[in-house]
């Protein structure tokens, strides 16, 4: 077990492309950190730099108090689970899991003990004699995890391990990974483009964009207090609504002007914070779950908003209603019993206590 420290790490390629632009990240011992970004924003490169599979152009990477910049992967005492599992097709499940231990010349009994223990944790004991081709996607994923577990490494690295699984299996394996981390408390760095995986698994989430870290924090913090428009839009599904607006005075308080006819009152507690933004072009960020059914018990900061419904998407436990405010499309998450019909008018409550005011130009949340 060990802490991981990434200090001013940079990765540039020959063509002048900078995949990772000076990132700093401290990962505590036993912590589960998830790097989440849309594809092609440097998350896998960052993970591979920690693994030693990519040379680092600048900065430092420390694992367990050791500077590992020039140490090859095999001497970093890490284990990695790949997106495509990377199981050795000519070896049995047992041999796949035992390979790293055999290379490190562990005694035969110790190898057997560790493989059996990992197989028990992952419920793959019956598969130990099979070849990878005889396994399903989920089973292969378990074997790949088993190969990592048996080594008792300082750090687990997961590179989008669930991307190749179908939706149902992905949810199941997500729970399995969490369970494994709860029983084997090893420092884990997990990379994904799926924000649901990030939210459900992580102790802390790292949101990256264009090779830079946008925000680091516990999942709930990122959800409720995003630092930038990028984080606000990336965390949460369906994504947050971004509505161009302007702040106006409404007596002693402030109001958000969305269109000629729509003016929503800002909670009094935020007046002082938002006052400097008066008159400037801003963006109102409001999640679909905070544009709710008016029949629910009204919240103190709720403001009425009448919308013309475009599309209704019943999801079973909830219904998504799509509409346009001004010229901007938006979405609300309402009770399935809400009588929303395409073309009709629906009265919604905007929970302004959950609003985010975003600088239009800079993209930072006020």
């Amino acid at each position: 077990m060990a802490e991981v420290s990434i200090r001013k790490a940079v990765k540039s390629y020959e063509a002048g492309v900078q995949a990772v632009k000076s990132i700093d990240l401290e990962i505590a011992d036993r912590e589960f950190v998830v790097l989440v970004v849309p594809s092609g924003c440097g998350k896998s490169t960052t993970l591979r730099m920690v693994a030693g599979l990519e040379d680092i152009t600048g900065g430092e990477i420390w694992i367990g108090g050791d500077l590992v910049n020039d140490i090859p992967p095999r001497d970093r005492d890490i284990a990695m689970v790949f997106q495509n599992y990377a199981l050795y097709p000519h070896m049995s499940v047992f041999d796949n899991m035992a390979f790293g231990l055999k290379l490190r010349r562990f005694p035969r009994e110790e190898i057997r003990k560790r493989v059996d223990e990992a197989a028990r944790i992952l419920d793959i004991t019956a598969l130990l004699g099979r070849k990878p081709r005889a396994l399903s996607g989920g089973q292969r994923q378990r074997v790949a995890m088993g190969r990592a577990i048996v080594r008792h490494p300082k750090v687990f690295l997961f590179d989008e391990p669930l991307s190749n699984l179908d939706a149902q299996l992905r949810v199941q394996m997500r729970t399995e990974i969490k369970k494994v981390h709860q029983s084997v408390r090893t420092t884990t760095v997990y990379v994904t483009h799926d924000q649901v995986e990030a939210m459900t698994l992580a102790d802390r989430v790292v949101v990256m964009n264009q090779g830079r870290i946008e925000q680091v924090g516990p999942p709930q913090m990122l959800y409720h207090h995003p630092a930038t428009r990028f984080v606000a839009g990336f965390i949460g599904s369906p994504a947050m609504n971004f509505l161009p607006c302007r702040l106006e005075r409404m007596g002693a308080c402030l109001g958000v002007r969305l269109s000629e006819t729509v003016l929503l009152a800002v909670p009094a507690s935020r007046t002082a914070r938002y006052e400097p933004c008066l008159g400037r072009p801003m963006v109102l960020g409001l999640r679909p779950e905070h544009l709710t059914d008016p029949r629910e018990p009204a919240r103190p900061d709720a403001a009425r908003l009448d919308v013309a419904v475009d599309v209704v998407e019943p999801m079973g436990m909830e219904t998504l209603v799509h509409f346009v405010i001004g010229a901007t499309p938006a979405c609300a998450r309402v009770d399935p019993a809400t009588p929303a019909v395409p073309g009709g008018v629906l009265a919604l409550h905007a929970d302004m206590g959950q609003m985010h005011l975003i600088e239009d130009a800079a993209g930072s949340v006020v």
Partner: protein
């Protein structure tokens, strides 16, 4: 109303009805033929028939004719069964040919495999554009017509004009009898065969190396494998099928080699470099004993065929293991 429904039902089944209409007019006795023609496998056989006829005419017939010839007497007037084979086995000259063929084929294939493997690895490490250039250059020996390049080697080994000997003499080393002494002549024909065949191994291995997923090497590197362990536990097992098929193919072709020995030594000195094909040529064509020549050329067939069966079975098994 009822009629219209029936008509619609029939229209829905129109494609089947239309396609089967011509057959339906045939007599009941044509049923078997109809079934034969409508089976997909029958159509496949019919479409492949021209190719099968070509292979039969150009491969199967000559092969069977050679077997038949090998069982006739010298004047091809009497069936002697395995007599030619037994005669050959008791003949010291032919026993020497067996030994020489085995030395020639096995050592040439071993060196071709080793050099090809080494070249493929070196080439695999060369980046992009340069790799294409080097690949083209290294393939040259294999694409030049063998008879022509062997003539070039013949000049290099020539006792009077040998470039090799000239270089050796410059350094004060006495000339080497490249094609004049038994073991030097054997070495020379093997050397030329290796020079010609190693690029084939190289290109096959290179293709195999490129097909090994990079992530396996990365996983192995993280598991603790160094260069040797990666070669032993990842590269070689992943390349086993290509290795087997290339070695088998090369062994068959090298056992059947004719041009190199014929041009360089013509079997000399004193028949010490003859291999099956050149000896069969001497016995069958030059000495006019065609059945004996046929028997010599067919001598290795059962052993190579048996080897091929085992190798191909192994390949099929491993392919099934690694698929999916």
């Amino acid at each position: 109303m009822e009629e219209r429904r029936v008509a619609e039902t029939l229209r829905a089944a129109g494609a089947v009805a239309a396609s089967s209409a011509p057959w339906s007019r045939m007599s009941p006795r044509g049923g078997g033929l109809r079934r034969f023609a409508r089976r997909r496998s029958s159509v496949a056989v019919l479409l492949c028939l021209p190719l099968l006829a070509l292979i039969g005419g150009l491969v199967l017939y000559p092969a069977l004719y050679a077997v038949w010839l090998a069982m006739l007497n010298k004047h091809m007037t009497r069936f002697v069964g395995l007599g030619n084979f037994l005669f050959l086995l008791h003949r010291p000259a032919f026993q020497a040919v067996i030994l020489q063929s085995v030395i020639f084929a096995v050592s040439a294939v071993v060196f071709k495999a080793l050099i090809g493997f080494l070249l493929a690895h070196l080439l695999h490490a060369v980046p992009g554009r340069s790799q294409r250039v080097w690949r083209g250059l290294l393939l040259l020996p294999w694409v030049i017509p063998l008879a022509m390049s062997t003539l070039g080697w013949w000049w290099l080994f020539d006792p009077s004009y040998s470039a090799f000997n000239w270089v050796l003499n410059v350094f004060g080393v006495p000339s080497v009898p490249g094609l004049g002494a038994t073991w030097w002549a054997r070495f020379s024909v093997i050397l030329v065969n290796v020079w010609y065949g190693a690029p084939f191994f190289m290109i096959m291995y290179l293709a195999a190396l490129k097909s090994v997923p990079e992530q396996l090497y990365e996983a192995a590197a993280i598991d603790g494998a160094g260069a040797w362990a990666r070669l032993r536990y990842i590269t070689l097992p992943m390349m086993r099928n290509i290795l087997s098929i290339t070695i088998l193919f090369s062994l068959i072709v090298t056992f059947a080699n004719f041009d190199i020995v014929r041009i360089l030594t013509a079997g000399g000195p004193q028949d010490q470099t003859h291999i099956f094909a050149t000896y069969a040529f001497v016995a069958g064509i030059q000495s006019g004993d065609i059945p004996l020549g046929a028997a010599i050329s067919l001598f290795m067939l059962p052993i190579l065929a048996l080897g091929a069966v085992f190798v191909l079975r192994g390949i099929t098994r491993r392919s099934a293991e690694q698929a999916g």
